[in-house]
């Protein structure tokens, strides 16, 4: 039988046999020929397993804040409604034509409001789906749950359906759906297939935004313009990244994303400042030594890049495991190369 050729026969070796040598894993050297070497392996069960669990549980009390804001919002809406009804009544009292015009405008406004609200709600739901997917994928990477990983991949495929550039990647991934693949490996496979092109595009977006910020702040006349421009550019970057990874944030969604991104920067920022940022500024920051304005530009660009990386972490539906997480150093290199080329 040809398929049996690779099958190796069972074998048993007594450890106290003179022909058997027990070696440590780091021990080298070639024992004499004909002996059997036994190397004990590190016990995988004793290796530490990373568990990402918040030490302090999230507050899950009754959302009084939300109740307050909803109630106030409702009251304001009621007041507005009342005002508009009165206005239309007054218009009708003056002339019928004006009355109908007012009524039509009010309906148009109501319709538009309804659609805007629906869109916002849809965007928020979509963001929540992505966040949940991220958390579920992280859990599967630890638990290696096969059925759950299949569910995640199905949801990912649904999410990726709106991006026509991923058609081939989706087909490949669907082809693997029936194979026997472990839960964690399935997630890694999905990441490699679906996220690779998106990650490249995200990196390009972040690095171009950072470049734009660094140029504008280097030439802008006032600090206020700098601040405004950085703010607008960051908002735009976050929205682009969210759209790239499948979210469709509206205004509320942007506020929520912004909060998450800033929280993420706050958590990871200290670390970044200690290693990459300082190193970048001091090491590669030759430009900074030449001119103060130029230095400020580079620094602002790096900050934007930092924000962009945090936004990638927040908007990406899968955690980084199989693919490398883009780091500031790569982007900073792009940035400095560009600056130096422009000099």
């Amino acid at each position: 039988m040809s398929e049996r050729t690779h099958h190796r026969k069972p074998a048993t070796f007594k450890l106290d046999d003179p022909g058997v040598i027990v070696m440590d894993a780091d021990e080298t050297g070639r024992p004499s020929r004909g002996t059997v070497r036994v190397t004990p392996e590190t016990d995988p069960a004793l290796l530490p397993v990373p568990i990402e669990a918040p030490l302090v549980p999230a507050q899950r009390g009754f959302p009084w804040g939300a109740v307050f804001w909803s109630a106030v919002g409702g009251l304001v809406l009621l007041g507005l409604g009342l005002g508009i009804t009165r206005l239309i009544e007054d218009l009708f009292a003056r002339s019928e034509g004006l009355g109908f015009l007012g009524l039509a405008l009010a309906f148009a406004a109501a319709l538009a409001l309804a659609i805007v609200v629906a869109r916002e709600a849809f965007g928020l739901i979509r963001l929540a789906t992505i966040e949940k997917l991220h958390a579920r994928a992280a859990a599967v990477l630890v638990s290696d749950d096969r059925a759950e990983s299949r569910g995640i991949v199905q949801d990912l495929l649904k999410l990726a359906h709106q991006n026509p550039h991923l058609a081939r990647a989706r087909a490949t991934l669907q082809g693997h759906a029936g194979d026997i693949i472990d839960g964690a490996d399935m997630i890694r496979l999905a990441e490699r297939e679906l996220m690779t092109p998106l990650d490249q595009e995200a990196r390009r977006l972040v690095s171009s935004a950072a470049q734009r910020v660094s140029i504008v702040t280097a030439v802008s006349p006032r600090a206020l313009v700098d601040v405004l421009f950085v703010f607008v550019a960051s908002l735009r970057l976050i929205r682009q990244l969210a759209r790239l990874y499948g979210g469709r944030p509206g205004a509320l969604g942007m506020i929520r994303l912004m909060r998450h991104v800033i929280a993420h920067v706050a958590i990871t920022g200290g670390m970044a400042a200690s290693d990459s940022l300082i190193q970048q500024v001091l090491g590669h920051g030759l430009a900074a030594k030449l001119s103060q304005r130029l230095g400020e530009g580079v620094l602002n660009g790096l900050l934007t890049a930092r924000l962009g990386l945090a936004a990638i972490d927040v908007t990406r539906p899968l955690p980084f495991t199989a693919l490398p997480r883009p780091v500031l150093a790569d982007l900073a290199k792009d940035l400095l190369r560009k600056r130096e080329a422009e000099e």
């Binding site: 074998a11 070796f13 007594k14 059997v36 036994v38 069960a45 549980p57 026997i180």
Partner: protein, 489 residues
Amino acid sequence: MAPRFSEMIEEARLSARALKDYGDHFFNPTVRLGVTGLSRAGKTVFITALIHGLTRGGRFPVFEPFATGRIARARLAPQPDDAVPRFDYENHVRTLIEERRWPNSTVDISELRLVIDYQRQNGADRTLTLDIVDYPGEWLLDLPLLNKSYEQWSRESLALSRERPRAPLAAQWHAHLGTLSAEGHEDEQAALTAARLFTDYLRACRDERFAMSLLPPGRFLMPGNLAGSPALTFAPLDLPGEGVAPEGSLWAMMVRRYEAYKDVVVRPFFRDHFSRLDRQVVLVDALSAFNAGPEALHDLEAALAGILDCFRIGRSTFLSSLFRPRIDRILFAATKADHLHHSSHDRLEAVLRRTVAGAVTRAEDTGALIDVVALAAVRATREATVARGRDRLPSLLGTPAPGEIAGGEAFDGTTEVATFPGDLPADPEQLFAGEGAFRGLSSASAEKTDFRFLRFRPPQLESVNAEAPTLPHIRLDRALQFLIGDRLQ
């Protein structure tokens, strides 16, 4: 009309029982976890390790409530059912840790209550009662008998016993069967001899060399206090295709006793224990089937399919938990995963998944969850690489149990060995390719087999005198997370 009426009474009793349980559980949340498996699958060790880990604090990184520290403590509570023996946890732990022997096998049902104090994720203090019910998997194989007449069962058992490799084992019984006439006068001595020979044949099938699984009726091998009673003194007969049993014939006597077996043994078990379970673990010892050969693997598959047919599975709803409790999670666990290098665990899981594939599809339709895992409740080996010539064999280090034989040598229970058990194929279908798919002990001599899984002694724990020596395990935490993790949210 009579059988229909008795069925209705049976259903009514089940519902009454369920209603009472529901009342009890309302104030005191309880999970009844059934642990079963064919004999030597490792039920006792599984429960012992589970309780030991929960009460003494084992390493359970994947069992979320435990790993994140939300479980304050788990303690043993007095056993609730007065008519069921208590699971002898303390003795089993002693055997396992101090004597380094595997505990004796399950011959009867037993139960133990574990109370878990935990904090919910929102901060509320709660208590979950976990009733662990241990029963032999052979009893499960009896449950399909409830829907079979004697004639049907007799025909099936006889057909099965004429297949390879059972036929040679059943030769003696078949010879005696030839002397009996189904329509002849009833004869106690003939019935006794037939039952004895039939039991001998079942016992021979269970031997390590053949490792057959599908051997109903289960009580023949584990008679307990019913040994010798008429309910256990029957055997299949060579019956004519049609007709009913004549009055006073041997056939009629067998039919009566078969029905008695169902009434005395099978129905009470179903009503009092089986129908009340919420969660179920089925432990499967696939490795001994690999040792024995393809026939044993086929038999295991048939036995598992039989077991699965008995479960009332489906998502629990409010009404179902009131009147007709269902099992909403079943875990199939290939035990003794420590007898394989971890790189082969996925392949072992794939084999088991292939075996229970039918059940998984069916369960998905009903909304119940089914999972398959390769685990070792107590890990008896360490892993090692053996370099022999240019070969690198992923092997295991451990102390084989006394009396185990490999390479023509018997072990005394103190020598440590490194063993390579053979490569499992990447595609499980290869193993199910029928007769001759691989060579086992049932068809080849010990040196020529494709797989050899030695039985190892329990591990030497490093700190026996320290306060809490934890038992090493493989994926017991994942099993726990699947079985009760959701009830500890």
